[in-house]
Symmetry: C2
C-alpha cells in the first residue's frame, strides 16, 4: 500500500506503532463539500428544500459530478436521475455500492441523505488519491428522489436500480405533472428508464452512512450506530362511528361520542409500545373528528395507527394489539370501531458480515458503537432486495430530522465517514473479491 | 266564559263533571298549520332550511300573518323582522308574550322554533274564538333569526325587542352582506331598528313552548317538561404544545406527543361531568392536531372544552375542573397545556310562578311532568333580561334536533299546546292583571 489521505492530513493517520499507517478521510474537505452542497436549495429559514426529480436535485447532482471529476473520479447519470461516481480505469471486480440520496423533504435539513453521498465520494477520493486497489469496484451513488416529496414515489432511484419501477412511472406531483416530465427536463430519460435496472448479481453489497434521525445515540453518548436492520411498518386505518348530538341537550350517559372513543384509541395504541412493549413504536399521527365544532358531540372520527418493529413477529403482534384495542374500545364505548391495514412494509435485516465489518472498523478507530434498528426508511431497504446491505449511523442532535434544525456535530460527521472508509478497507481485507461474501454471506 | 275551541272539537274538552268546560286547542288545525309552514324552505332530504333574515323566513312570517289575520288576529312586523299577532281591540293590560322563532339552521328540522310559534297562534285563535277576556294582553311572537345560521348574530329578533342590538347591527353573512341589507330587502327596516326595542316594563312575562332537543323526556316516558332554566355555558380553548417527531425513529419514552396529551384531555373533560358530576355536561367537540400525518408524532393540538350547568356555582366548578385537568395533563405528559375561557353565557332561571302555572296546567290535563333544564339556548334567555320567563318542553324523538330527522309525535305536539293554553288561563285566573305577578314575581 501507498500513501493515503491528503498531504496535509498526516496527523490524522492512526498512531499505530506497528504496521503501515491506515488512511483517514479529509475531514475539512468532507465538511466543506457538505456545506457547499447545502447551499443548493438553502431555505432562508436555515433548512434545505431540494426536492427529488426537481431542478435543485439535478443541480446538486451536476455539482457533485464536477467535484468527483476534478478529483479524478468518473461520474455517470442514469435515466432515472441516479448519479454514480467510480474510480478511473477498468472495474476491478464486483461492485460495492456506497451512498444515499441528495433530495430533501420540504424545509428539510442539510444532512439527511446528503451526508451519506458526500462521505461516499470522500471515501472514493481517499482511495483514489492513495492509489488503493481493492478486490471489488467501489461506486459512490446518489439515488434520486428518496423522499418522494415532490413526485409521490419515494425510493424512486433505488427502485429503478433494483428493477422495481416498471409499473410505477405514472407517479405525479400534486399538480398532476408526471415523473417522466421531470426526468426529461432534469437530465434523466423516461424512455430509457428500464436501463437504470442493474443486472442481477452485479451489486455485491451496499453500504449507507446516515444520520440516525432519532435521539438514541446522542442520549447514550455513543458516536457510531451499527444498524441491525430497517423496521417494518404497518399502518392501520381506523374509523369510529358514534352519533353527532347536541352538546348541551344530550346527557353524558346518552352519548355515543366518537372523539371520546378516538381518545381511548390514541392512548390504547400508545400503550402497546410504551407500556406493554409489544413492538418498538406505536403511534397515532393522524386524527380527524366530525363535525368538529364546539357545541356538538362528535359523531365520527378517523385515525391512523402505525406500528413499527425490526422483528416480523413483533410487527404482527403490534398489528394484532391495535386490532384488540379497537375491539375493546368498541365494546366499552358503544361506538362502532372499524379497522383495516392500509399499507406497510416488511422489516429488512442488514447483513451480519457487513455489520461485523462496521463494528470492527469502529473498534479499530477506538469509537464506541451501539447496535440499533433504523426506525426510518432508507434506500438500503430497497437495495436489500438485490444485495446484502450495511448501514452506519451517527448521532442526530436532539434526535431532530426532516427539519431545518437537523444537525450533527462536525467531528461526529468526520468519525462516521472514517468508519465508512475503514469498513470498506476491512471488507477488502477479508473478501475474496466480493464484499458481500466477506465473512459469510447472508440471506 | 263562553265556548272554547272549534265547534267540531267539543269531544276534547275536559270531562270535568263539575264546573264549566275548559278549552283545548284544535289539534288538527295546529298540526295542519305546522305542516304547511314546514313546506316553506322544505329540503328534498326531508328537513327544512329557512334561514333567519333571509327570504324564506320572510315568506314564513308573511304566511303566518295571513293565517292569523284570517282568524281575526292583528299582525304586525317590526323593523327587526319580528312578527307579532294580537287579539283585536284595545289592549286589556300588560303584555303576555308567547312564542318562539321560525328560522332554522341549514338542513334543520320542521319543529325547532316553528312549533312554539304555531302553538302560540293557535292559543290566540282559541282565546279569540271563545271571546275570552284576560286581565292581560296575550301576544304571539315569531322572533327573527334565532339561530344566526345566515347572519351570525343569533337571537337577533329577541335582542332587538330587549334593546340589546344597538351595537351589533354590523353582523354579516359569510359573504360579508350585512344584516341591514337583509332587513331592507325582507320587510324589516334597518334605519328604524331601535324602534324594535320595547319600553321597559311593557312585557309582563314570556312563555315559550319548544321541543326538548334532547332525549330526557322521551327516555322517561313523560310528555311535559317544566323548564327550570337555560344552562350557562363556558367555552375553554386549550392549546397543547408538544414536539413533532419522527414516528419511526423516536423511542416512546423520548416523545412529547401532543395528541396523546389531547386524548388525556378529552377523557379528563368527559370525566368532569360523566363521572365526577361536577357540572351537567362537559364536552370536547373540537380537536385539531398538527402536523396530523401518519408518520409524525403530533407536535401541537388545539381543542375546545365546553361545560354547561343551570347553577352558576356548578358552572364555575366545571370551568375550574377543566383547568385542573389541563394542569394535571401538563404535569403528567410533559407537554405544555395552555387554557383560556374564550366565551360563554350565564345560566338563566325561569320564573317560579310561571313554572308553577305550567305544572298546574299539566296536572289539570292529567299529564305527567318533569322539571328539567334546557341545555340549548332559546329566545327566552334573552327575554329573561327584561321579563320573567317560562318554558314548556315536549319530547324529541331520539333526542334529535337541528337535523331532518327532528321529530315529535303529533299527539305529543297537541298536548304541549294544550298545556300552553291552560298555562295562560291559569295565569289569568291567578294574576291581578299581570301574569308575571301571578303568584309572586321573581327576579
Amino acid at each position: 500500500m501507498t500513501q493515503f489521505g491528503s498531504p496535509e492530513d498526516t496527523a490524522r493517520r492512526d498512531p499505530s506503532p506497528a504496521g503501515p499507517p491506515v488512511p483517514r478521510v479529509d475531514g475539512v474537505r468532507l465538511l466543506e463539500v457538505l456545506e457547499r452542497l447545502g447551499e443548493i436549495g438553502a431555505d432562508p429559514g436555515g433548512g434545505v428544500t431540494r426536492l427529488g426529480l426537481g431542478p435543485l436535485e439535478e443541480q446538486a447532482r451536476t455539482w457533485l459530478a464536477g467535484v468527483g471529476r476534478s478529483a479524478g473520479l468518473v461520474p455517470r447519470t442514469d435515466p432515472a436521475g441516479n448519479l454514480f461516481l467510480r474510480l478511473p480505469g477498468p472495474a476491478t471486480g464486483p461492485v460495492l455500492l456506497i451512498g444515499s440520496h441528495v433530495d430533501t423533504v420540504v424545509q428539510g435539513g442539510r444532512l439527511d441523505g446528503a451526508y451519506g453521498v458526500v462521505a461516499a465520494i470522500e471515501v472514493l477520493r481517499v482511495l483514489h488519491a492513495g492509489g488503493v486497489r481493492l478486490p471489488f469496484d467501489p461506486v459512490a451513488v446518489a439515488f434520486s428522489n428518496e423522499e418522494g416529496a415532490l413526485v409521490q414515489l419515494p425510493f424512486f432511484g433505488s427502485r429503478a436500480v433494483c428493477g422495481q419501477l416498471a409499473d410505477r412511472v405514472g407517479a405525479t406531483d400534486r399538480s398532476g405533472r408526471g415523473a417522466d416530465a421531470y426526468l426529461a427536463e432534469h437530465g434523466g430519460d423516461p424512455g430509457r428508464l428500464a436501463e437504470a435496472a442493474w443486472p442481477e448479481g452485479s451489486i455485491a453489497a451496499y453500504l449507507e452512512l446516515h444520520i440516525e434521525q432519532g435521539p438514541v445515540l446522542e442520549r447514550a453518548g455513543i458516536p457510531i450506530g451499527v444498524v441491525e436492520g430497517i423496521v417494518g411498518r404497518t399502518i392501520v386505518d381506523i374509523e369510529v362511528l358514534g352519533q353527532a348530538q347536541h352538546a348541551g341537550t344530550t346527557p353524558m350517559e346518552a352519548r355515543h361520542d366518537a372523539l371520546v372513543a378516538a381518545a381511548e384509541l390514541v392512548l390504547g395504541v400508545r400503550r402497546i409500545a410504551a407500556v406493554d412493549g409489544v413492538c418498538t413504536t406505536a403511534t397515532v399521527g393522524f386524527l380527524r373528528a366530525a363535525p368538529n365544532v364546539t357545541n356538538t358531540v362528535p359523531g365520527t372520527a378517523r385515525l391512523t395507527a402505525e406500528v413499527r418493529d425490526i422483528d416480523p413477529a413483533r410487527l404482527a403482534a403490534g398489528e394484532a394489539a391495535v386490532r384488540a384495542v379497537c375491539a375493546e374500545v368498541e365494546r366499552r364505548t358503544g361506538c362502532r370501531v372499524r379497522c383495516a391495514v392500509s399499507s406497510g412494509s416488511a422489516p429488512v435485516a442488514t447483513d451480519p458480515a457487513l455489520r461485523r465489518a462496521i463494528a470492527e472498523a469502529a473498534d479499530a478507530l477506538g469509537l464506541a458503537r451501539l447496535a440499533l434498528p433504523s426506525g426510518a426508511g432508507h434506500d438500503a431497504q430497497i437495495v436489500a432486495s438485490v444485495a446484502p446491505i450495511g448501514m452506519i449511523f451517527v448521532p442526530s442532535t436532539g434526535g431532530i430530522s426532516h427539519a431545518p434544525a437537523e444537525d450533527t456535530p462536525p467531528e461526529a460527521l468526520v468519525r462516521g465517514a472514517d468508519v465508512l472508509l475503514r469498513t470498506v478497507l476491512r471488507l477488502a481485507a477479508t473478501a475474496g473479491g466480493d464484499p458481500g461474501r466477506g465473512e459469510g454471506r447472508v440471506s
